[in-house]
């Protein structure tokens, strides 16, 4: 690989942002222009993501496409970006999801200009987190990725029907559970709450390292005292874990995802939750190896709860979006579990699961959005027989569902089997049990939902349902194809990922 | 008399002044309490100045006395304007703004 003569990562990262700015200034009251700008700028990111995915040098491994511009030299803050095998895959995932998301939200009518602008700004944040090597800039991007969510959900979201009941009913009434404002506020505050921990953790590392630099590479080279590592790891775990939906800090996710508009759910469940797991792996494990080993029991144990608990909760839901949202909780458990195994298989599985689940859940939310748009309902038990009128959606849903339950030839399987392998190899072999139980429970609720919605006699509540159309197909086909492609040829992803996880493991296992 | 005696006397006057501020219902009464508190400050300053044989304390006292006068003038003006608008002198009744 020769040196690429342009700052490819920066272009990938900032193209959507430029798109957002253009949309704000050039496309007032011109919906088509809004969409075209969004499409073009995300397409640039997609093409370049695929490009770097292809030309990434797997032999050399490590961080590549490095760019560095000092921002505040006295404080050691620099704009430093690069990707290794792990972030490479995440960048690709982000590209796929946002590209599909632009298509999936083609039909947003109210205030579409602001919608796309916020969405694109958000995406820049996500890209930024994945490519940043400077922890400070990382944090900035992280915030950028979280904040637009409030307005995106608040304005374009939809309210659910959660009733304030139970012994804490009064509290629900006071907080206004069920409304989209509630969900937006909960999500934003929860994630910012997490970012408070992250910030403190980053500072602690910065101060302790004493190198006067926020560069990941420099911090990686310094070793931190075990006590500090312990606390900082906990801070990172809680901070990023909230975003990754760890139990019991996950409750923002069902409400948030259920209330969010389609593209936002796609992006949030598909990419942002991964961002949490990515943070734990990249910063938690990468910088704090001793604590990562010491606290693996915690990460893995909580992940086990996540897997089973999330799946059972998903099973209990009657609102389609909540089902998908809880399935994300369950699958993020698998991601964290894979990471906690501290084995090559498990870690590869975790990263692959991030990718697989990202695409899959993106697909799910796109589909739910379509179903909702056409039927104006998310109540599973009112629906039925939609397969007849929307076979395309049904097929895509089935593929997504199968990936979710880990059916071979879909990306989900590779991720799960690797996680299982890692789990049994880890120091806590019993983790295999909840992991496997989770896949069964997933099979139960996914197929139950599929059957209820798409199979059976057509529901009397609905008529004139139509299948996906035009741009919507692009999203569905793209996501489905990715799921299957990576399920059949996992080496595509595992190859680069392995080059990133193995050095990480070597660091972790160093006595 | 040792310095401590003067300081204690000042502290007592200060506390009495504070007591007045806390307990008088009448706005003018409250002002009188503040006067006492500032008076205590002056006793303190002069005592210190005398025991250190230092001029700064005396000057300080001069300034505080003058500032106090200004403060009292403004305070009383506020009381008058309140009387005019609210028809009351009772501080307790001045709770339009709260929460």
């Amino acid at each position: 690989m020769g040196v690429i003569p342009f700052p490819v990562l920066s272009i990938i990262t900032w193209a959507p942002f430029v798109g957002a700015v253009l949309i704000m200034f050039l496309a007032r009251h011109r919906p088509l222009a809004v969409r075209l700008i969004a499409l073009v700028t995300t397409a640039i990111s997609v093409v370049l993501s695929v490009f770097i995915f292809v030309v990434y040098n797997r032999e050399a491994a490590g961080f590549q496409f490095h760019e560095k511009y000092p921002l505040v030299p006295p404080l050691g803050i620099a704009y430093e970006v690069a990707v290794d095998g792990m972030s490479l895959l995440m960048v690709l995932l982000t590209s796929i999801i946002i590209f599909a998301g632009v298509f999936a939200s083609w039909t947003v009518t109210t205030r579409s200009q602001e919608f796309y602008a916020l969405l694109l700004a958000l995406v820049t944040g996500v890209y930024g987190v994945f490519v940043s090597l400077d922890l400070f800039v990382f944090f900035l991007f992280y915030e950028l990725a979280v904040l637009p969510m409030y307005l995106l959900i608040g304005i374009w979201g939809s309210s659910g029907q959660v009733r304030p009941r139970g012994i804490f009913g009064w509290a629900f009434r006071e907080t206004g559970v069920g409304s989209k404002e509630y969900a937006a506020m909960k999500l934003t505050l929860y994630l910012l709450f997490g970012s408070a921990f992250i910030l403190v953790g980053i500072f602690a590392l910065y101060v302790s390292a004493g190198t006067g630099s926020f560069s990941f590479l420099e911090l990686e080279a310094s070793s931190f005292p075990p006590r500090l590592q312990f606390w900082v790891f906990l801070a990172f775990y809680v901070g990023f874990g909230i975003l990754a939906g760890i139990w019991p800090l996950h409750t923002w996710s069902p409400d948030g995802h259920a209330s969010a508009p389609t593209a936002v759910s796609m992006l949030h469940a598909g990419v942002l939750m991964k961002l949490g797991a990515y943070g734990v792996v990249r910063l938690g494990m990468g910088l704090l190896p001793d604590a990562a080993v010491e606290l693996a029991w915690l990460v893995g144990g909580v992940a086990c709860i996540n897997v089973v608990y999330g799946a059972l909760s998903a099973m209990a839901q009657t609102d389609l979006k909540y089902v998908i949202a809880y399935s994300s909780v369950s699958h993020m458990g698998l991601v964290m579990l894979g990471a906690a195994t501290l084995t090559e298989a498990g870690l590869n599985g975790a990263v692959f699961q991030m990718f697989a689940h990202g695409v899959m859940t993106g697909l799910f939310f796109a589909l739910v959005g379509l179903v909702y748009e056409k039927s104006h309902s998310r109540e599973i038990f009112k629906m039925g027989g939609f397969g007849r009128s929307m076979p395309g959606i049904a097929t895509a849903f089935t593929v997504g569902g199968l990936s979710s339950l880990g059916l071979p030839a879909t990306a989900g399987f590779v991720a799960e089997i690797l996680t299982f392998m890692g789990a049994w190899q880890s120091t806590h072999p019993w983790w295999l049990v909840p992991a496997i139980a989770g896949t069964f429970l997933t099979a139960v609720y996914v197929l139950r939902v599929t059957k209820q919605i798409f199979w059976g006699p057509p529901s009397p509540h609905f008529d004139h349902l139509v299948d996906a159309r035009g741009p919507e197909w692009v999203a569905l086909v793209l996501l489905t194809a990715v799921i299957v492609l990576f399920g059949m040829v996992p080496a595509l992803a595992i190859g680069p990922v392995d080059t990133a996880t193995v050095p990480l493991l070597i660091r972790l296992m160093k006595p | 008399m040792p310095l401590g005696a003067y300081l204690t006397l000042a502290a007592l006057v200060f506390a009495i002044g504070l007591f007045g501020v806390l307990t008088r219902r009448n706005a003018v009464g409250i002002l009188l309490g503040i006067e006492l508190m500032l008076n205590a400050v002056n006793i303190n300053l002069v005592a210190f100045a005398r025991f250190h044989a230092d001029l700064a304390g005396i000057l300080f006292t001069l300034f505080t006395i003058s500032i106090t006068v200004a403060e009292v003038a403004v305070g009383l003006a506020i009381v008058i304007v309140i009387f005019r608008v609210r028809r009351t002198v009772e501080a307790d009744h001045l709770d339009l703004l709260r929460g």
């Binding site: 006295p74 915030e143 904040l147 307005l151 608040g154 304005i155 404002e181 937006a184 506020m185 934003t188 505050l189 910012l192 709450f193 408070a196 921990f197 910030l199 403190v200 500072f203 602690a204 101060v207 | 300081l7 000042a10 002044g17 504070l18 501020v21 706005a27 409250i30 503040i34 508190m37 500032l38 400050v41 303190n44 300053l45 005592a47 210190f48 250190h52 230092d54 700064a56 304390g57 000057l59 300080f60 300034f63 505080t64 200004a70 403060e71 403004v74 305070g75 506020i78 009381v79 304007v81 309140i82 005019r84 608008v85 609210r86 501080a91 001045l94 339009l96 703004l97 709260r98 929460g99």
Partner: protein, 471 residues
């Protein structure tokens, strides 16, 4: 002439006071807004001049010093005053037109107090400047003297203020008594610990805490802010507080010498309770000005986090925070003013659907709120970050964590306003009319917030530079 060099700004302001006074004597008729323009223009000129003022050595036998910190602070005061006066130019209340001379004389006198306070390195001068700054504020708070709320606010402000300054004076008397001097430089040199010195500084802190409105000395704040005229409140909420902080630095850090670090726990405690109380009490507010008042108290708590660092960088970061706060907080108040003039309501409900009615005004408000909330790419983020940073450097992780978590609580109420603006539908259609001068002042604040957000470096560097000699 060179003897006057350190006093250039004060002398200039004195001249302006005289001019305005004279104009007030000469002016006739109901509308005396010319005086307002005069005063505003004068402050602008002074602000411009302040940009070129160079540090000078101590004057008046060390009583007065025109060092970097003083200049930094004075620029801030002048800028804030300019924005505040500019916004007030178009005030609809008749009293501002008729009594423009009084109003501006009071403001300028208070400003003079601030300028001197920033330079005062002697307890006597400091106290005098402090009072010169405060006393006009009591009058200004009740400037709408027909308004039952305003006069009540004025009384409360006066009462708490004069008790606090009595306590402060009492404390300063002990400081003097313990150190036998009123010169801060000499006080700093006193090395042995004296209980009377501690007592004095603790009691003096009451005065400062009142001025910066730390909990529980803050209680005048919400009432005063709610009732007084908004452009004045916008100014009141930033300039005197900034002055309070500068004086605080002078007395406790510059005058603290070796003992400066001993004040860290006190500041940390004050920071903790202030952040907690401010944020929590802001939560249930329905009146935007009250909400901003409590949020302002919380902001003070964050600044105290920087003070708790008791280090040069901490001090610098508080200075930076003050700059960010000036723009963010004033901006927010001024938007409230704009809306209140159009809607006649200061309730948060008045913000409904603002984004659809006046997108730019809503955007400006959003920027201010985000800045106050500490969100990246606007000034407030760096401000919070830097004070946290400074505290973290001193190992105050718990305080940083608490502050960061309370930031989230704060976002709750900031976002509620954002929700009103962006998510809810407007109650009535049509653009919100904004007077040009008010629009300009809002724009200035927005510009400040954004510029500082994008490029904080210059101000941070300046703050670091001026804070370093204190330690």
């Amino acid at each position: 002439m060179s003897a006057l060099a350190p006093f250039a700004l004060e002398v200039g302001l004195g001249l302006l006071l005289l001019i305005v006074f004279g104009a007030g004597l000469v002016a006739r008729g109901e509308d005396r807004r010319g005086i307002a323009w005069l005063a505003t223009g004068g402050v602008l000129v002074l602000a411009v001049v302040a940009m070129f003022v160079a540090p000078a050595g101590p004057a008046l036998g060390g009583m007065f010093v025109q060092d970097g910190l003083a200049i930094f602070a004075k620029r801030l005061f002048l800028a804030a005053t300019f924005i505040g006066l500019l916004a007030g130019l178009s005030g609809p209340d008749r009293v501002f037109a008729r009594r423009a001379a009084e109003y501006h004389l009071l403001v300028l006198a208070s400003l003079l107090g601030m300028l001197v306070l920033a330079s005062a390195r002697d307890l006597i001068l400091l106290f005098l400047a402090f009072e010169l700054m405060s006393i006009p504020l009591y009058v200004l708070a009740g400037f709408l003297k027909r308004d039952p709320g305003a006069v009540e606010a004025s009384l409360k402000f006066f009462l708490v203020g004069s008790v606090s300054s009595a306590v402060m004076a009492y404390g300063l008397s002990f400081v003097y008594g313990a150190t036998r001097t009123t010169d801060l430089a000499k006080i700093a040199a006193v090395s042995e610990g004296n209980p009377l010195l501690t007592l004095g500084l603790v009691m003096a802190l009451v005065g400062f805490a009142f001025k910066i409105a730390a909990f529980p000395f803050h209680m005048w704040v919400p009432d005063t802010y709610e009732a007084a005229s908004t452009p004045f409140v916008a100014w009141l909420s930033v300039a005197p507080k900034a002055a309070g902080f500068v004086a605080l630095f002078r007395v406790y850090f510059e005058g603290g010498g070796e003992r400066a670090a001993a004040w860290a726990p006190v500041a940390a405690l004050l920071a903790t309770v202030t952040m907690l109380a401010g944020n929590l009490m802001a939560l249930p507010q329905q009146n935007t000005k009250r909400l901003l008042a409590y949020s302002g108290i919380a902001q003070i708590g964050y600044m105290l986090v920087g003070v708790a660092a008791a280090s040069a960088s901490g001090t610098a970061m508080v200075l930076f925070y003050l700059v960010a706060y000036v723009f963010g907080n004033m901006g927010a108040f001024l938007v409230v003013e704009a809306l209140a003039r159009a809607e006649g309501s200061e309730a948060t409900a008045a913000f409904r659907g603002l984004a659809q009615r006046s997108p730019l005004l809503a955007l400006a408000m959003l920027l201010f709120l985000l800045s106050l909330g500490g969100i990246p790419f606007v000034a407030g983020f760096w401000a919070k970050l830097y004070v946290f940073w400074a505290a973290a450097e001193r190992g105050l992780y718990w305080l940083v964590l608490l502050g960061a978590i309370l930031t989230v609580v704060a976002l709750f109420y900031y976002l509620l306003i954002a929700k009103r603006m962006y998510i809810e539908e407007p109650e009535r259609p049509g653009r919100v009319p904004v007077a040009p001068t008010l629009a300009w002042s809002v724009a200035l604040c927005a510009l400040g917030v954004v510029l500082l957000g994008l490029y904080p470096k210059a101000v941070v560097m300046a703050a670091l530079r001026v804070a370093a000699p204190l330690f």
